[in-house]
Symmetry: C2
Subunit: 219 residues, 2 copies
Amino acid sequence: MTEPASFPPPSDRTRVRRYHQIASYDPQTVHAILDAMPLCHVGYVHNGTPIVTPTLQWRDGDRIFWHASSASRMIDSVLEQDVCVTVSLYDGLVMARSAFSYNINHRSVMIFGRPEKLSETEKAEQLRNMVNKTIPGQWERLRPVTAQELKATTVLGLSITEASAKVRTGPPQDDEADRAFPVWAGVIPVRMQVLPPEPDPHNLPGLEPPAEIASFHIG
Amino acid sequence: MTEPASFPPPSDRTRVRRYHQIASYDPQTVHAILDAMPLCHVGYVHNGTPIVTPTLQWRDGDRIFWHASSASRMIDSVLEQDVCVTVSLYDGLVMARSAFSYNINHRSVMIFGRPEKLSETEKAEQLRNMVNKTIPGQWERLRPVTAQELKATTVLGLSITEASAKVRTGPPQDDEADRAFPVWAGVIPVRMQVLPPEPDPHNLPGLEPPAEIASFHIG
């Protein structure tokens, strides 16, 4: 009998799962997942209700960052409380021989902690990172940011101190007895595919995308 | 001057954004996004701390479902409180002419409410849906579920009553004045790509994947 945890992962803060689904506190594993997927989910409590807000995160060293309008309600909430930021990737459908062993291959990271509001100096530096970690050198090509724009934006930072990663890879892990059951088992891999760039119809004539977009990837 | 909201979306429960980024309460839009992405993020409060757990959701009519081990700590927490379930897709990088107008194309749904634990009858029915909504007819091909497996699994349901969707599509929305700035602008589309199935090395000889896997897609 497989353990209950073999159903698709209701991931749990501390639990370590079996062989193919490993919880890790190794910074390298955590960083690699954060760098693979800019979309994150920030969980916080607002007026007593949990709210999970999708936004973009980027990592610099041992912190992640995201930004919000300075007028956002999220800002006030998250500066007064611990949050949970989760980043996840769907890597494939694991078609086991029993529904009980159905699963997905996935990578995820959860980070817990109290975000802090960046100073003006750090803010400009991290907005540059937001752009340049996606497309190297792009910040320097853009119309320079104005003081008013900077003022309208808040950047939050969160230390990757209390964090864990979960990774599940590989084929189904059916009970050995189930292997005799005559149903095909395997994995349907899924990945993020980057398609060719689509120019803005308002582009000035003759402009080409920077060569550095070739390095853009997700996953 | 663009509004602060033009940075990548610190999505907000009620806010309606401008033209290309539309908040919607239309069930058809909400359902389409839920059906496009099985990975969801369940936000709840456990011992005073918000937790964002990635798991799989599936929709049947006007409810979504997810499951967990009956021994999971999440179960007790979420039955006593409102949760927020968020589903998001990253659809592309919007390379604007200013960092301030940088964005991502995306689709997301937030659902708020109190989950309920399904009865034994509903549970079996919805586990069948979990499998068959991904690969039609697969539940009937699998090694039948046992009473013990059913007992070890809890399925939670959440009504799609208080829900909203956000969708951003299309090219950058720079200020008109910025269009004269000589930098390439456009979108790099990203999508989920399904790759050919990889058979489990333990498969019995001669087994082929069901033809219905051709209908498996994400996004």
